[in-house]
């Protein structure tokens, strides 16, 4: 065979090798997206340390609040094997509604904080004995300033759950009541914000704020009989609060208040990974430091993203990164910078191509394992004939 044909074949094969991935599990990162990745990764990044005394103070705060509904000394208790948290459960037949307008009573103390002028927000406001360095200005009583509400006698026992971890609090009454109408969104959001802020469950600063608030409805679609129209009704509104730091979302911080719209009774209260920060102690991460723990350049980040999409999204025919969202993630130590990517992805299926859009996240300051560090090694299933 003439050598020039061999060269042509080799050239075609070479081109083919380049082209084949583009027609198979192609991951497209458009140039404008790559540019944004480059820009974001080139910025000097910071970690913002958590204000750690607040971790324990939040726990005291929650314990005080939930004591109005559940007796933790009598409740059943289960310690999670996987997560650093404990669940308490109690069945009750008599309950006092917990209202959005409820306020924890604060009692002022005479001593003042030591150490000079401190930001009133960064300074802990609730007394916690576990952290001696945290000088408290005020403390919470064990009692609550409850609105005068009548206790309800239930026909059947109701389960109350309280789950608690260092940065994880969940209170829930497993109960539902049919609502006539939803609470107007703006009213619900304002009441919810007041509840969170006035009771210090969330402490806003100029940089650390409540971001978007979603109002989700839980509904029941109830059958009325074989030949009758079903009835669809609202049973709960959940106010979901996002957190923003410096205008960027903190992906895993979340507060949710679930209410009965008619009575504004709180039946669900979740507070995850929303710890006040020591904003004055931000830690800069130089590109050199970053390189020692992680891939840091724009192209390296893009490679990590592609690998991740391929690993988790399997047999797709096409994937395209549509958007880059600079964001934060709260670890047990600090807020760390991450990039979230909106990805459009397409799959083959017996019913024709399917597509969806989803989020993928890359840690700019280290390994992605932090996103779910409790996860154990995955075992693959067995093939059975």
């Amino acid at each position: 065979m003439d050598m020039k044909y061999i060269y042509v074949i080799i050239a075609c094969l070479a081109i083919g090798l380049v082209v084949i991935p583009a027609t198979g599990d192609e991951v497209i990162i458009p140039s404008n997206i790559q540019q944004k990745i480059n820009t974001e990764t080139a910025k000097v990044k910071v970690r913002v340390p958590l204000n750690k005394p607040f971790i324990d103070q939040n726990k005291q705060l929650f314990r005080t609040w939930v004591s109005g509904s559940i007796d933790l000394t009598k409740a059943t208790k289960r310690v999670s094997r996987r997560f650093n948290r404990t669940t308490f459960g109690q069945k009750v037949t008599r309950i006092k509604p917990r209202l959005l307008t409820e306020r924890l009573k604060l009692i002022s103390r005479t001593e003042t904080p030591t150490g000079g002028a401190v930001s009133p927000v960064a300074q802990p406001r609730a007394k916690v004995s576990a952290q001696p360095q945290a000088k408290a200005k005020v403390r919470y009583t064990s009692g609550l300033q409850l609105e005068k509400v009548k206790a309800l006698q239930l026909k059947t026992p109701m389960q109350i759950i309280y789950r608690e971890g260092p940065m994880y609090f969940r209170f829930q009454k497993l109960r539902e009541v049919r609502a006539e109408a939803p609470l107007q969104k703006s009213v619900a959001v304002q009441l919810g914000k007041n509840f969170l802020l006035n009771n210090s469950f969330i402490r806003e600063t100029n940089k650390d704020k409540i971001g978007a608030v979603y109002v989700q409805e839980r509904r029941i679609n109830e059958e009325r009989g074989e030949r009758q129209q079903p009835v669809d009704y609202l049973v709960q509104q959940d106010l979901v609060f996002e957190r923003h730091y410096e205008g960027k979302p903190v992906l895993n911080s979340k507060a949710v208040i679930g209410i009965f719209p008619g009575t504004k009774e709180i039946v669900l209260f979740k507070h995850f990974n929303w710890t006040p920060l020591e904003e004055q102690k931000i830690q800069k991460i130089s590109p050199q430091m970053l390189r020692s723990v992680s891939s840091a350049t724009g192209s390296e980040i893009a490679n990590r993203l592609q690998q991740k999409i391929r690993k988790y999204s399997g047999k797709f025919t096409r994937a395209e990164v549509k958007q880059v969202i600079p964001a934060w993630f709260q670890t047990e130590e600090s807020l760390i910078p991450v990039l979230a990517f909106e990805i459009f992805i397409e799959y083959p299926s017996p019913k024709g191509p399917w597509s969806r859009t989803y989020l993928e996240v890359i840690n700019l300051a280290g390994s992605d394992d932090i996103f779910f560090k409790e996860r154990k090694a995955v075992q693959r299933p067995r093939e059975i004939r």
């Binding site: 996987r82 839980r218 109830e222 074989e226 949710v256 047999k315 989020l359 993928e360 996240v361 693959r380």
Partner: protein
């Protein structure tokens, strides 16, 4: 056609639509029939049928273990010639037989023929409760005459008990082994702290003197509640297998009205053990307080299937009375043969590795609480032709793969339509389907468009077609697309397992897990939906053995709990 005829025709058509069109296969239960009691305080009661006189109709014998101050005594009445409607033509006044102690925690009555005389023997038993361990004590009324009186009574015979506290007891006779002499089965509803359990002993090959050749140690069967006010045992063959079934019943006493709960032990072997036990079936009770209860199987009508009679000795203030209900034409199809293990299965589509993450996330956590019996790469037959060996072999199935409304891809190229599948104890005529809960960790499988109920439950027009809710309690998934995001999928799976372990009801356990994980998925999709048969609305995994429902049951109503 006259106006009256038109109205009659219309009424008949309406009645056919309302009743005749449904698959009314459930046992038809009578309301209760009351018979005067024989005292103010009872510590056990029993019921038995036997033909004592020359009339071909059987007699019903109702017995109470009366508990005045001092020594107890047995008292029984005979209902002569019970008609096809379950009512006796007349009732005798009560007959007193000396008791066997001062305190009883259950009692029973049975007839058999022990000696060579053709007249039957009546055996009266009480579960005597001195301080410490209880014991069974029975007396034999030899050769009961046609007037219902025994020719003579034995002194009592003691058999070791099965615990320190009983809340009911019963006895019956049968022949389990190849020896022609009958076996005597005595049972107590033992009441330790917490849940009760049934405990029975077998007296092998009863001799003509009324003593057993030997006694088995006790066999324990899970109970049906925490508090009982009577219990009974019966043996009969109700299926096509030649071995008999054992029925254990307790009169459960929650706060408020009582109810009867029974379990069926299928095909009792020659060693006295059942091959498997059904979940319990619950039948409405006859009052708030019972001082004894029992059951009997007898054929009263022309249908070849027996009737089940459930009786309680009701104890209002003042004099007690017997109250019994008749379950007409008792059929093995009425009893679920689900097992009582706590098993779950996990199936994974091979299309994406994240599906492994989802199912493993659940399997890895939940296996601490229940037993994982299968963890396989998915195949359509697991939900379809092979469901009894796969999804329906366990109580909970967790499945991940690409989905669309009532459709899931179980593996590459194996798209699986779900609307023509049936799961749960009513999915087959043998009632062997076990599945109560199923999770589709997939996009849109539980989409709530206008036709969703028609795909999931049976209606009159589809009553003969398979549908997923055929005894299934709860289906869970997403009504929208599901995004994994930065781990929302595996996070939700883990949380679901944790929530179940923490006592959330199943419906909430899924909703909360899906909701908790939404922060990782960008908020747009991942909206959970849960479809459930209404009586299972608040069910936790501890209640997975509760009664199943199917088309034709009045409570077969499919509701949805969902995020808008």
């Amino acid at each position: 056609m006259s106006c009256k005829f038109k109205i009659l025709s219309l009424t008949l058509v309406t009645l056919f639509i309302v009743f005749g069109g449904h698959e009314l296969q459930s046992i038809n239960w009578s309301s209760y029939i009351m018979v005067s009691g024989m005292g103010s305080v009872g510590e056990g009661a029993g019921i038995a049928f036997y033909n004592l006189d020359t009339n071909p109709r059987q007699e019903m014998i109702l017995m109470a273990y009366d508990a005045p101050s001092g020594a107890n005594n047995f008292r029984y009445r005979i209902g002569w010639n019970v008609g096809t409607n379950g009512r006796a033509v007349s009732w005798s006044s009560y007959i007193v037989v000396g008791g066997v102690g001062h305190v009883g925690e259950g009692a029973g009555v049975a007839f058999t023929n022990l000696d060579s005389n053709s007249r039957p023997e009546m055996i009266l038993m009480a579960y005597d409760a001195p301080g410490g361990a209880n014991n069974f004590r029975y007396r034999i009324g030899w050769n009961v005459k046609t007037n219902g009186h025994a020719t003579s009574w034995s002194s009592y015979i003691i058999v070791g008990g099965v615990g320190n506290l009983g809340e009911g007891a019963g006895l019956t006779f049968t022949n389990l082994d190849s020896n022609s002499r009958p076996e005597m089965v005595i049972m107590a509803y033992d009441a330790p702290g917490g849940a009760n359990n049934f405990r029975y002993r077998i007296g092998w090959n009863m001799k003509t003197n009324g003593y057993a050749t030997s006694w088995s140690s006790y066999v324990m069967v899970g109970g049906v509640g925490d508090l009982g006010e009577g219990a009974g045992v019966a043996l009969a063959n109700i299926d096509s297998n030649p071995r008999p079934e054992m029925i254990l019943m307790a009169y459960d006493a929650p706060g408020g009205a009582n109810n009867f709960r029974y379990r069926v032990g299928w095909n009792v072997r020659m060693n006295g053990y059942a091959t498997s036990w059904s979940n319990y079936t619950m039948i409405g009770g006859v009052g708030d307080l019972g001082e004894g209860a029992d059951l009997a199987l007898v054929n009263l009508d022309s249908n070849s299937k027996p009737e089940m009679i459930l009786m309680a000795y009701d104890a209002p203030s003042g004099a007690n009375n017997f109250r019994y209900r008749i379950g007409w034409n008792f059929d093995s199809f009425e009893i679920s043969r689900e097992d009582n293990d706590h098993q779950f299965v996990g199936y994974v589509s091979n299309e994406e590795s994240r599906f492994v993450d989802y199912v493993w996330g659940f399997v890895d956590e939940f296996k601490n609480t229940w037993t994982n019996s299968q963890y396989y790469w998915g195949q359509c037959r697991f939900l379809g032709t092979g469901h009894l060996s796969f999804a329906d072999s366990a109580d909970l199935a967790y499945i991940a793969g690409h989905g669309s409304p009532s459709y899931i891809v179980m593996s590459s190229g194996q798209g699986c339509s779900l609307s023509n599948k049936a799961w749960g104890s009513y999915s087959t005529s043998g009632r062997t389907g076990d599945l109560e809960y199923i999770v589709f960790h997939s996009c849109q499988v539980l989409k709530m468009d206008s036709g969703w109920r028609g795909r999931w439950r049976r209606y009159y027009s589809t009553r003969n077609q398979p549908r997923p809710f055929s005894g299934l309690h709860i289906a869970m998934g997403f009504r929208t697309n599901h995004y994994n995001g930065a781990g929302a999928g595996s996070w939700a799976a883990d949380e679901f397992a944790e929530n179940l372990e923490d006592g959330f009801n199943v419906r909430y356990a899924w909703y909360e897990a899906a909701e908790d994980a939404r922060w990782l998925a960008g908020w747009t999709g991942n909206k959970p939906a849960i479809f459930y048969i209404r009586p299972h609305k608040y069910e936790t995994i501890g209640g997975h053995n509760s009664q199943d429902y199917r088309y034709g049951d009045s409570q077969y109503l499919l509701d949805a709990y969902y995020m808008k």
